[in-house]
Amino acid sequence: MDKVEYTEKERWLIEPKPGTAAARARDFGVDLSLTVNNLRLTPEERIKQLDSHLDGIRELRNSLRWISRVSERVA
């Protein structure tokens, strides 16, 4: 996979200075590289990406239900 290049402006979030909100978010566990990716998109593209994530979550849930049903039958 290609290495992501960040602009000087985006480095505000990727390499936050101590005491900033970005540093607090990073320390809280927020992956700010995902935030930067989102900020590169238009609002409409952000909604489309959210919809794709929701599809993924639904597929994962369905797979887990299927695995659970099969496991019960085997047991």
Binding site: W12, A21, A25, V30, P43, I47, D51, S52
Partner: protein
């Protein structure tokens, strides 16, 4: 067409007077944290309640999380008697908020909303600053993680604006 897109088209097709709040508003502002429902703060005037009811009926809305035997008539009178409602619909979860904690009722949300074009329709989206106030007031664990990310986005945006102002001042001063 996917779920959130369908929900946004629903509120625009029925011309519902509302402001997008909650997780979808956070996404529009750049948050990376996924959300599974559309939260809207809606105008509670009679004409708008009629539009809301028509929209909800068109997607077979039922109360979410309520026992099946609880009678619920989806009409203007019911909405006028309540304030906040959570619905299951054919296009996913849709939450109607008469009031947003930390911000206020529809009128307060409206004056603190940005107009943003999404899917060829101009939606009103609660401003980033007020969204932060709402998340802070809600104070649930899931709001706290959204809060710190939104504060970082606000700081990022403001840092850019401050830099532009500095550059402009430097250019003007020569």
């Amino acid at each position: 067409m996917k779920e959130v897109e369908k929900q946004l088209r629903l509120v625009s097709d029925f011309q519902i007077d509302c402001v997008l709040v909650g997780g979808v508003a956070a996404t529009v502002h750049g948050s990376s944290i996924p959300t599974q429902d559309l939260d809207i703060c809606y105008s509670r005037d009679k004409a708008n309640l009629t539009k809301v009811v028509a929209a909800l009926r068109s997607v077979n809305a039922t109360l979410r999380g309520a026992p099946k035997d609880i009678p619920f008539i989806l009409d203007e009178e019911t909405l006028a008697r309540g304030l906040n409602f959570t619905f299951d619909t054919d296009v996913g979860n849709l939450d109607l908020l008469g009031e947003v904690r930390g911000v206020g009722f529809y009128a307060e949300c409206l004056v603190n909303a940005d107009e943003i074009e999404i899917f060829k329709y101009r939606h009103r989206v609660l401003s980033l600053r007020k969204l932060i106030a709402a998340k802070r007031a809600a104070g649930r664990p899931k709001d706290l993680i959204a809060l710190v990310e939104l504060e970082a986005i606000l700081e990022f945006r403001d840092s850019d604006r401050n830099k532009s102002s500095r550059d402009q001042a430097e250019n003007t001063n020569g």
